[in-house]
Amino acid sequence: MKVLIVDSSSAIISRLKELLAELDTIKNIYDATKCKNAMALVKKHKPDIVLLDINLPKNESFDCLSEIKKLHKATVFIALANRGSSEVDAVKFKLKGVEFFFDKYHEFEKIPQAIRQIAKKNKEM
């Protein structure tokens, strides 16, 4: 599976990459700090999973989500928040088609598990 990480912090991106390193289902990890770059990568590589930071600067997370979906419908999104529990955000993104919604700080350990779930589902499909 191909995973795209979109996060404003490169430090976070490197840690996330580390976290996902042990997952053998993942063949390629791409990353971008800006939506623009993310779009380009989506076009080129058509990732299966996108880890999307919902607190991208200029509030572009939501639009980014919509744009990527347009480009590649099959993408599964895992939204990562870093603002404490924001019910509104969760609802908002879930409605837009985000499958998983995690708080970066408290729940990052759940990410690998979520990816495994997605991989399983893909296999079944």
């Binding site: 430090a11 840690r15 996330l16 607190n55 870093n82 404490g84 509104v88 970066k104 700080y105 990052f108």
Partner: protein
């Protein structure tokens, strides 16, 4: 010879007859008597005077008709004997016992006989007495007059000088009678006028000065000049004119008049110095009867113009103020109450002058008769007031703007703290997690340390989130005021155990950010106070909205506090809360009684767009 003797006897007899007739016709009683009083010869007049008949008179002795002794005055008797004619004044007693006054001239005719001519002077005496009495009365009057009376003859010689004249001029009557009035009491500069006047009178029979009262000066004995009221009349007495002057010393009066005049002047000066228009007007027509000098200075119209037309006041009030000002004045005048009002008048050069008019109503027989008052120019004050008002408004907007900037700053700081630090701490947590995963074979101490490390990072993240939230509750921006308040209340209830309740609107989309922040901060501050001091069981928050305003109420059932104690207000941040409200043009009311809980009510009016307002 016989013929001659006969002729001579006839002639003598004729002469005797003539004399007899003369004697008989005489107006006086003629008596010849001897020293013992016996009457030898007498005329008819004696009968008339004495009331006795001829025959009775023949038998009379003088003592019978004379009152008193025959010889009353021995020295006069001596003179008689020597041959002198002596005049006596005695009284006769008539037959009917009436007394008559007699003037008697007696001469000795030798042979111890006397010739007496006696004249009834009763009438004369009566006339003399009446005259004397009349003189006495006049003198009494002249002497007791309160004015000085001085009489002079045509030469100016003083012929009469009453006691009051003595007093005011200092000359006694005896000293001054006969002196020329010109040299005694007339001041030098008037002397020519006096002599000219006299001359004119003697020529024409009139003079300007007669029969009227004039005010002039006179000299006293010391040569001091003093003011007098003078009236002069001319009196004709048996073709000899004399003049009577009635003089009153008016120096006291003049002094009083002077002082009164000075007082009036100083009052007038005072009135004219007052920095305003002191005025008087008729209560019915509002026509001015007096205005002080400043009238011209203040409005540019000369005083006379103010008094000329009855409608001056009404006509010169600025048209916008005219209606109500006149109505108000009329109403107060009718009710006889003093009043104080402000209005504009139009000056001569067209500019508007703000006046404060302080009016008193004078009442007579329960009716208003006169109005009086003072108009003060308050134009500058009004301008200042307007400027002040504008400045206050500007300050308020500025304060609101600064507050907004503060909040914006806090928002951005909060965001930075939260996002940047939060992000970095997340990275740190991830690293520790990695360490944990990759150090499983380390000894317990190392593993414990890692656990502690993780725990520390967790605490740090909590703190960062808390600080960020306190700086700027993201919830306020994300979820709105109501959600933020409700969340606050829930957290508060969790922490303190005080039961909370929210009632009111569910959405605050119409409120500006500044207002939302203000209300949120007030709820925040109030809950802090309740938690710290109130010892309450319940606290409720309500938020209501209308077209014009939003109303926030916070109530608790705690122990309350004394509103007057300034210290409390400081601790409870009441001043700060009040300022926030005032900045938005709103009201802040707090009510608290000891043991009766605390009520806070805030009203914020619909807001003007801040940016537009400041530009």
């Amino acid at each position: 010879m016989d013929q001659q003797i006969k002729e001579k006897e006839l002639s003598i007899s004729n002469t005797e007859e003539k004399y007899r007739q003369l004697i008989e016709q005489a107006g006086d009683a003629i008596v010849v008597y001897s020293i013992d009083g016996s009457i030898h010869e007498f005329n008819n007049m004696l009968c008339t005077v004495s009331g006795y008949s001829r025959d009775e008179c023949k038998e009379l002795k003088l003592q019978d008709i004379l009152i008193g002794k025959l010889i009353e005055n021995p020295s006069l008797y001596e003179l008689m004997i020597k041959g002198e004619t002596v005049t006596l004044y005695r009284q006769f007693k008539k037959k009917d016992n009436v007394f008559v006054d007699m003037e008697i001239r007696v001469k000795s005719i030798g042979d111890e006989k006397f010739l007496a001519f006696a004249r009834d002077i009763t009438e004369r005496k009566k006339a003399e007495l009446a005259l004397k009495e009349s003189f006495e009365v006049q003198k009494l009057i002249m002497d007791s007059a309160l004015d000085a009376i001085v009489c002079i003859d045509i030469n100016g010689s003083i012929s009469f000088w009453n006691p009051v004249a003595e007093k005011i001029f200092g000359w006694s009557s005896s000293e001054v009678l006969g002196s020329t009035i010109s040299e005694t009491i007339i001041p030098v500069r008037y002397r020519e006028m006096h002599s000219d006047g006299m001359k004119r009178y003697l020529q024409t029979g009139t003079a300007k000065i007669l029969n009227r009262t004039i005010e002039i000066t006179a000299l006293n004995r010391k040569g001091e000049e003093f003011s007098i009221d003078l009236s002069i009349v001319s009196i004709q007495q048996s073709n000899k004119p004399f003049f009577c002057a009635f003089i009153r010393d008016i120096s006291e009066r003049k002094k009083a008049e002077n002082e009164l005049r000075k007082l009036k002047e100083s009052y007038l000066a005072l009135i004219n110095n007052v920095d305003g228009i002191v005025w008087e007007a008729d209560a019915k027509t509002f026509e001015f009867t007096f205005v002080s000098e400043n009238a011209e200075r203040l409005l540019g119209y000369p005083k006379e113009k103010w008094l000329e037309k009855p409608r001056f006041w009404a006509d010169h009030i600025y048209k916008e103020d005219r209606g109500w000002a006149i109505d108000y004045c009329m109403k107060c005048t009718k009710e006889k109450i003093s009043h104080d009002f402000e209005y504009r008048m139009i000056a001569a050069d067209g500019r508007l002058v703000w006046l404060r008019d302080i009016v008193s109503v004078q009442v007579e027989n329960d009716e208003p008769v006169k109005l009086s008052g003072i108009m003060v120019d308050i134009t500058n004050q009004k301008i200042s007031e307007e400027e002040n008002r504008e400045k206050k408004e500007q300050l308020r907007l500025l304060a609101a703007y600064l507050q907004k900037i503060r909040e914006d700053e806090r928002t951005s700081i909060a965001r930075e703290i939260h996002d940047e630090l939060g992000q970095q701490l997340t990275v740190m947590k991830m690293d520790v997690s990695w360490l944990e995963d990759n150090l499983k074979n380390q000894n317990e101490k190392v593993l414990n340390k890692i656990t502690d490390f993780k725990s520390m990072i967790d605490q740090t993240v909590s703190t960062v989130r808390r600080i960020a939230y306190e700086l700027r509750p993201s919830m306020l921006d994300d979820m709105g005021l109501v959600a933020a308040i409700e969340w606050q209340l829930i957290e508060f209830e969790k922490r303190s155990g005080v039961r909370t309740k929210y009632t009111g609107i569910k959405s605050t989309l119409t409120l500006s950010d500044t207002v939302k922040t203000c209300l949120f901060r007030i709820v925040q501050e109030s809950l802090t106070n309740v938690g710290r001091y109130a010892k309450a069981k319940n606290v409720s928050v309500s938020l209501m909205e209308t077209d014009q305003q939003v109303v926030l109420k916070i109530l608790d059932d705690g122990i309350g506090f004394e509103l007057e104690k300034l210290a409390f207000k400081k601790t409870l941040g009441i001043v700060g809360m009040k300022e926030r409200c005032l900045m938005l043009g709103g009201e802040f009311k707090i009510d608290s009684t000891q043991g009766g809980g605390t009520k806070i009510k805030i009203i914020i009016p619909a807001q003007v767009n801040l940016n537009e307002a400041i530009a």
